[in-house]
């Protein structure tokens, strides 16, 4: 059996990659994808712990997370689409509607 540490390291690597991508990329779609990567890194960690703890709870929760994430993705993409229609851009620097 592959030790749990390997999975955890993979999870951390995925998370850090996602975070870096979020900060260096400029268009909303890519940033959105990097958020999904971070999310799935977290899912992976969840499942790993569930397996080593020998309990199905974590796996069940991950199923829920994936379901909710699918819905959230749909909403997020719809928002990005609307932003594009309004502003004719999806560059995150150009969007500062909420500036105080």
């Amino acid at each position: 059996m592959i030790p749990a540490n390997y999975f955890l390291i993979l999870s951390v690597v995925l998370f850090v990659l996602g975070a870096i991508a979020f900060f260096i990329k400029r268009d909303l779609i890519t940033q959105f994808m990097s958020i999904e990567i971070m999310l799935n890194a977290a899912n992976l960690a969840f499942i790993t712990f569930a397996r080593s703890a020998n309990s199905p709870d974590g796996q069940i929760i991950v199923f829920f997370i994936i379901t909710v994430a699918a819905a959230e993705t749909a909403v997020g993409l719809a928002i990005i689409l609307l932003i594009f229609r309004q502003k004719k851009t999806i560059k995150s620097e150009d969007i500062k509607l909420m500036k105080g």
């Binding site: 900060f23 940033q31 995150s92 620097e93 969007i95 500062k96 909420m98 105080g100």
Partner: protein, 638 residues
């Protein structure tokens, strides 16, 4: 039939609700019909219940209907309960009876007014409040009615609120009454604290059981009387009543002559055990009443406004009622209240009829010789005048005589009461004088009418004159249910009727000769006053002017109403306004506004600083988020 007595106040209440909600959509004719009918229904039920009272044995007083428990706090309880006993019966009959006649008169008087429906709504609301006042079985509910009539008085004085003086008069009445009400409320609270109940039966039991000391009784009685001086326009709080004449004339007749202003007298009679217990308080009542009776009469001598003369005369007559209460003749005080309701509302309505005929003219100097133009108003006005002047065989004579006789009889205890009697006699001369001055200046002598006014002069329509005739009939006849005791105890039916409620203790009997002598004096002073008025204003009209020029100080003092309004303004009103202005400038503008504005400025400043972090860029937010997570992790791990 008597068990529906509790409906008496609620019929006008229902009518008020309907008029207030649907009034704008209802046709005028229906409005007047409903308003009059509601009051008439109350009158019929009052009459039936009063007859029922006469038939029941004396022990069954009073009829009480407990509608629901209103306030419940520990052992203290206030019920919304309606009571009907002889005292309430007299008041309810006067309020609904005279009220009905005045409602009918108003249909004609207010016919062309824009606020027709509003007027009748207020008038019905007033009838409801007044009936609650007189039929409440406890002081707290009575206070509700007391304030209700005050409110209606305010609304109706300021009925023509677009007129500045009317709006101000309404405010004045309300504020002056508020001062009196403070005393009244304190009195009620003292009673609740020391007796534990506000029910009249409980209070009476406690007083006759000796539960409160004389000192406490004096305090409570005087506090309650402060309320009465406000509502019933006695010294020192009478100043609002003359100004209240800004309202429509039927309102002056109903509220400011016949019913509301006599509420104080009713209250004192209702609490008669308290005033009997405390002789000091009773003497204060008698003294205030007597001084007011004379003082207000002197002010009426020089006024030229027909309604103001009547207003001062009302103040003066209520003074008589308080003399009656103060000397222990509560039944006589109530009797005067009852006869006064007829002849004073008659005088007001007739004055309204004169104004109607003269296109709203109220200055007597511009009248004169109206007798031939107003064939119905003149005789009815004259009857009212004769009744108030105290000419024998008219109602006012019997009631005034009953009060003064009792005051004289009390003189056996203390010379103080002779003094009260003397003031009463003086007031009677003045009353006869200024009332006949009013008649002579208005209806007799040379015409001083404006030619414009004279062109349109006309007698009032039937709907206004018939009420005058009915009231004139009662002004003559109402006195015969309370004939002087000297003619036989049985003939004093009014006093007998009230006996179960009013326990008159030390009743003094005068010899028959003395009683007849007092009656003769009362009749003599009435004729004396009339004779002087005749000499002054018919035979040699130069005398008043000569007197005025010979004693300019006295004349000016009276003409300007002893400058009391000016003194009150200087002592109370202006300092209050000045003080308020100072507080407004220093406290409101600087402290309160400063604090409010300061808070706003501080918040705005803090927001400006913090808004630096709110760039609107999601990357910045994500960075802060990340930093937060790192710090949190670092804290967890190390």
């Amino acid at each position: 039939m008597t068990e529906i007595f509790w409906l008496i106040p609620f019929i006008p209440a229902a009518s008020t609700l309907i008029l207030a909600v649907f009034g704008k959509k209802l046709p005028k004719k229906y409005v007047s019909f409903q308003a009059c009918f509601a009051v008439f229904a109350s009158f019929v039920i009052s009459a039936i219940s009063a007859v029922g009272l006469l038939q029941t044995a004396h022990g069954n007083y009073p009829l009480v209907k407990n509608l629901f428990s209103w306030i419940q706090a520990g052992s203290f309880q206030v019920n919304l309960s309606i009571m009907f006993d002889p005292l309430s019966a007299v008041m309810a009959l006067v309020v609904s009876g005279v009220g009905f006649i005045i409602h009918v008169y108003s249909v004609g008087y207010m016919a062309n007014d824009e606020g027709y429906t509003r007027y009748f709504t207020y008038l019905n609301l007033f009838t409801f409040s007044m009936l609650i006042l007189v039929m409440a079985s406890n002081l707290v509910l009575m206070f509700v009615g007391w304030e209700g009539v005050g409110l209606c008085s305010y609304l109706l004085i300021g009925f023509w609120f677009e007129k500045h003086s009317a709006a101000n008069a309404g405010k004045k009445a309300f504020i002056v009454n508020r001062i009196g009400d403070t005393g009244f409320l304190l009195g009620i609270l003292f009673i609740i604290v020391h007796i534990g109940s506000a029910e009249f039966t409980a209070i009476n039991e406690a007083i006759s059981g000796g539960a409160i000391s004389v000192g406490l009784a004096t305090l409570i009685a005087i506090l309650l009387f402060v309320g009465a001086t406000g509502k019933s326009a006695q010294i020192p709080l009478y100043v609002w009543l003359p100004d209240a004449m800004e309202g429509p004339t039927p309102v002056s007749a109903l509220i400011h002559a016949a019913t509301m202003v006599t509420a104080g007298v009713y209250m004192v009679c209702r609490m008669n055990l308290l005033y009997t217990l405390s002789e000091t308080a009773a003497q204060v009542v008698a003294l205030v009443g007597a001084i007011t009776a004379v003082y207000a009469a002197t002010m009426a001598l020089t006024q030229n406004d027909i309604k103001r003369v009547l207003a001062y005369s009302t103040i003066s007559q209520i003074g008589y009622m308080f003399i009656g209460c103060g000397v222990g003749a509560y039944a006589a005080g109530m009797f005067h209240l009852y006869t006064h309701a007829f002849f004073k509302s008659l005088l007001f309505l007739a004055a309204g009829s004169v104004m109607h005929a003269l296109s709203g003219e109220i200055n007597m100097k511009k009248m004169g010789g109206l007798r031939k133009y107003l064939p119905l108003t003149y005789p009815t006005f004259l009857i009212g005048t004769i009744a108030i002047a105290g000419v024998p065989f008219f109602s006012g004579f019997f009631s005034k005589d009953a009060i003064l006789t009792r005051a004289f009889a009390q003189g056996q205890y203390s010379a103080f009461y002779y003094f009260i009697w003397g003031l009463g006699i003086m007031g009677a001369v003045l009353t006869a004088f200024y009332m006949f001055r009013l008649v002579f200046l208005t209806f007799h002598g040379e015409e001083r009418l404006d030619p414009e006014v004279k062109k349109n002069i006309h007698e009032s329509p039937k709907i206004m004159t018939i009420p005058l005739v009915i009231l004139a009939f009662f002004s003559v006849g109402a006195g015969y249910i309370g004939l002087p005791v000297v003619l036989g105890e049985k003939l004093n039916f009014f006093g007998k009727f009230l006996e179960p409620v009013i326990k008159e203790v030390h009743k003094v009997h005068l010899s028959i000769q003395t009683e007849w002598m007092l009656i003769a004096i009362a009749a003599f002073v009435a004729f004396l006053g009339i004779f002087i008025a005749y000499v002054f204003y018919i035979r040699s009209p130069l005398i008043p002017r000569n007197l005025a020029t010979r004693f300019p100080t006295i004349y000016k003092l009276m003409f300007n109403k002893y400058y009391v309004d000016e003194i009150y303004n200087a002592v109370f009103v202006n300092p209050t306004i000045k003080g308020s202005e100072i507080i407004y400038d220093n406290f409101d503008l600087k402290v309160i506004d400063g604090a409010v504005n300061g808070t706003a400025t501080a918040t705005g400043f803090a927001g400006k600083i913090l808004s630096f972090f709110q760039s609107g860029l999601i990357k910045d937010y994500a960075l802060i988020f990340l930093l937060g997570v790192i710090i949190f992790l670092a804290y967890l791990l190390f």
